[in-house]
């Protein structure tokens, strides 16, 4: 194996590593979604009548929180393939 091949392998490896590290951002989004949905379910259990009101907030909230994980995912994918 000459030096160029080693450098290419190192580049590939560090790309994959960088993509993996970038996905750490999804941890926060996962925790956030868990808290959000957990509180949604407990609020729904206390007051089932408010389901219609809360439903709108639910979808927008999911979309906004999920966007953070998507940011991490797009950084990871750009790392891997661009």
């Amino acid at each position: 194996m000459n030096e160029i091949e080693v450098a290419q392998l190192a580049l590939q490896g560090s790309k994959a590593l960088g993509a993996g590290i970038a996905m750490f951002g999804a941890i926060g989004a996962g925790i956030g979604l868990g808290l959000f949905l957990g509180n949604y379910v407990s609020a729904l259990a206390r007051n089932p009548g408010a389901a219609g009101e809360m439903g709108k907030v639910l979808w927008v909230g999911i979309g906004v929180i999920e966007a953070i994980a998507i940011f991490a995912l797009s950084v990871a994918l750009i790392n891997l393939f661009v």
């Binding site: 979808w59 927008v60 979309g63 906004v64 966007a67 998507i70 797009s74 994918l77 393939f81 661009v82």
Partner: protein
């Protein structure tokens, strides 16, 4: 990179912008690209749909008319709820934005087509234009009193400069988060679809029976992902619209 070396995973090339015909005016490159083509298609589809749907205007609506009425009522409800009754003046703007974003996302789901909302320049242009419009609107309605939204009442004098800076920053960063949310969702979604399609392709064409059987897994995942992407396409258009209304309300109404 595939081990066989038969193909190279390339989920990025689907976002390439190709000029369909060149046009240079005064040193500016104004080429009509595939991005412009899909925007034209989107606007034409929206215009055509609402022209045909509102042609007869019966008391008992036919299918197209009731679809158009549902769209109108849905967006009007969002505007009323999030921007208040004063916001209804800007209903045409919000309606146009919702359908431009929605059609961009949905047209991108057609295989082989182009998603113009997956380019940050498109979403950022929309978001910055909205931001400038809303800020100017706030100043024209409230004058310099509009600045008071950056300083909530009852803040201690010592904290005031810091709170002001924080509020100002959170206001200025709005167009960026609005644009990046839509663009990153669309780009990442389409890249994931392409990556899984390449997985399936690589395994199904590998020639060995075991690998081909495993190739069904990414294929089925891709079907589920397409359903998810269709849902996200609608959801992101809705979020873009709702946030536009929320920002509009901030310009129209000063809470204190």
């Amino acid at each position: 990179m595939a081990e066989e070396g038969s193909f190279h995973i390339d989920p990025i090339s689907q976002f390439a912008i190709n000029p369909l015909f060149e046009l240079n005016i005064g040193g500016f490159n104004l080429a009509y690209t595939n991005s412009s083509l899909y925007m034209t298609i989107a606007v034409a589809l929206i215009g055509l749909f609402f022209l045909i749907a509102s042609k007869h205007r019966d008391l008992i609506p036919n299918r197209m008319q009731s679809a158009a009425e549902m769209a109108y009522e849905g967006i009007a409800g969002i505007v009323r709820e999030n921007a208040g009754p004063e916001g209804m003046k800007y209903f045409p703007l919000v309606f146009a934005i919702f359908f431009l974003v929605l059609l961009g996302n949905i047209l991108g789901m057609i295989p082989g087509s182009f998603t113009y909302t997956s380019h940050i320049i498109v979403t950022l242009t929309m978001a910055v234009a909205l931001f400038i419009f809303i800020t100017l609107l706030g100043f024209s309605i409230h004058g310099t009193h509009f600045l008071s939204r950056f300083l909530p009442p009852g803040v201690p004098k010592v904290m005031a400069p810091m709170i002001f800076l924080l509020e100002l920053f959170s206001y200025l960063v709005r167009p960026i988060t609005l644009a990046v949310r839509l663009f990153a969702n669309m780009m990442a979604g389409h890249m994931v679809l392409k990556v899984f399609a390449y997985f399936a392709l690589g395994l199904l064409t590998s020639g060995s029976i075991t690998l081909m059987a495993f190739g069904l897994v990414p294929l089925l995942v891709n079907v589920a992902l397409i359903a998810l992407e269709l849902f996200v396409a609608g959801l992101q258009a809705l979020i873009f619209t709702i946030l536009t209304c929320v920002y509009l309300r901030d310009a129209l109404v000063i809470e204190h």
